[in-house]
């Protein structure tokens, strides 16, 4: 997907006008292994770019989640509470995590597909 952008911390964001959807990447889910729990914020909370907004807990480890963009949370994926495995099975679709109303411009350090791939290739072994 051409308009999906990525962070070095393995989140993704898609933007549609003022609305953004964020999640974690396929690479991230494969590295985490089976996700068992997500600790997520409530709607209405304001996030700055790169702010920690939650935790994804897999069998292997707990990892912080960082917001790729600044904005106010409009929706949290409620399905993840009962079906955290959606993060593994469909990280770019049903496994989305938050929707936000964007505040300001997109951070300049978001990566495109090609650059993100370089990041994953460097950290995979």
């Amino acid at each position: 997907m051409a308009d999906r952008r990525y962070t070095k911390t393995h989140e993704w964001v898609t933007v549609d006008g003022k609305h953004a959807t964020i999640g974690i990447t396929d690479f991230a889910q494969s590295q985490l292994g089976d996700v068992v729990f997500l600790e997520l914020p409530s709607s209405g909370r304001k996030l700055t770019a790169r702010e920690t907004f939650g935790v994804v807990e897999s069998v292997k480890a707990a990892s912080d989640l960082y917001s790729p963009v600044a904005g106010r949370i409009t929706e949290v994926n409620e399905k993840l509470a009962s079906r955290p495995e959606l993060i593994n099975s469909d990280p770019y679709g049903e496994g989305w995590i938050l929707k936000l109303d964007l505040a300001g411009d997109l951070p300049p350090d978001l990566l495109d597909e090609t650059d993100y791939k370089k990041v994953t290739e460097a950290s995979a072994h």
């Binding site: 292994g33 089976d34 068992v36 729990f37 997500l38 600790e39 935790v55 807990e57 069998v59 292997k60 480890a61 707990a62 495995e85 593994n88 072994h125």
Partner: protein, 350 residues
């Protein structure tokens, strides 16, 4: 792939959840070729091993294996291992991360005439584990092979040493096969079991199943600072068999009673207490988590904790550290789950 004791191994082949369920409901196939494997032979190898390990190898007949510990002079656990008594000497299977250290330790203790040979790289080791393992293994005549018994035989037409042992709490087999043929046996087992739901299983499923069965993991639940009584493995220490490395110290520890003990904890969904996290009671630190994971099979997170002896009873409420915060936990009975394995230990367990 993750690094595990210097070996590159898969955390999961497909999904830890699916692999874990396969082991509990049908059977799962693990590649455990990373485990260290030594052959110990020579005139007085029985006496030599009796001096090294805590359990009593005396009653073992040819074709029997036994869970064992290597302790240092102070009674601290150097490693846990399974010792096999064959017609041509002994075989020991040790933890991958300790292979070189164990080999050196054994060689240092060995009198002249004892041969210790590292066979790790010549033999592959597969573990086929689950309630339907015997039915689904492409091998004949294993109905009467007792738990912790082993014999030579063919698996999918390839010669193997077949041992009824494992690390999951389920019935099952560990298969020692020449490295150049082990891949064929792997494929044959998966092909034969495919329809029944047999899956290849990775380290994630291995850790979850061993933890549910409360089988200790060296490096997590025990190490040289922990003695067998603290680890709940006092049943492997046979002080009556005569003097062995650590026996004086262990005698004293047993007489005084261990200061610490391993307990089982259950937490609420999402609260996985990880290795090293604190256990609190009444606002005070009472111990530390040694292993913790989410049990897909049981549906909640479980953990082992090393705590002060005599402090907690089953049903007690404690507090554990999860992601830097406090979370409630309940002391539960061990094992967390009892699978199809016929006995939690070797036939010589007293």
């Amino acid at each position: 792939m993750v690094d595990f004791g210097g070996w590159e191994m898969p955390q999961q082949y497909t999904s830890i959840r699916d692999e874990h369920f396969a082991v509990r409901k049908v059977a799962g196939l693990f590649d455990v070729s990373h485990m260290g494997r030594f052959r110990i032979a020579g005139g007085s190898s029985l006496d030599f091993l009796q001096h090294l390990v805590t359990n009593d190898l005396g009653p073992l007949v040819h074709g029997q294996a036994q869970y064992n510990l290597l302790c240092n002079e102070g009674g601290g656990i150097i490693d846990d291992l399974v010792v096999y008594r064959g017609s041509e000497g002994f075989f020991a299977v040790v933890n991958a991360s300790n292979r070189e250290r164990d080999l050196k330790w054994m060689q240092e203790q060995a009198p002249p005439g004892i041969e210790i040979e590292d066979r790790t790289f010549e033999l592959g080791l597969l573990a086929f584990q689950g309630p339907r393992a015997q039915e689904l293994l492409p091998a004949e005549g294993l109905e009467d092979l007792p738990y912790f018994g082993f014999r030579g035989g063919d698996v999918a037409g390839i010669h193997a040493l077949i041992s009824r042992t494992g690390y999951t709490g389920e019935d099952g087999f560990e298969l020692f096969i020449n490295s150049d043929r082990v891949g064929e046996v792997w494929d044959a087992i998966l092909e034969r079991g495919q329809e029944a739901g047999v899956l290849p299983a990775g380290l994630g499923a291995r850790d979850a199943t061993r933890l549910e069965a409360a089988l200790r993991l060296w490096g997590n639940d025990m190490d040289e600072t922990v003695n067998p009584y603290e680890a709940g493995l006092g049943w492997t220490v046979k002080l009556g068999k005569g003097s062995f490395i650590g026996s004086d110290a262990l005698q004293k520890i047993k007489a005084e009673g261990p200061r610490r003990t391993l307990i089982g904890l259950k937490t609420e969904a999402g609260n996985i207490a990880r290795h090293g996290a604190a256990v609190m009671s009444g606002g005070k630190r009472a111990g530390v988590i040694t292993s913790g994971t989410h049990s897909f099979f049981l549906g909640y997170p479980i953990a082992l904790a090393m705590v002060e002896a005599g402090t907690f009873r089953v049903g007690d409420r404690v507090v554990v550290e999860v992601r830097g915060r406090e979370a409630p936990a309940e002391v539960v009975k061990l094992p967390f789950y009892r699978g199809s394995a016929r006995s939690a230990a070797s036939p010589t367990r007293s």
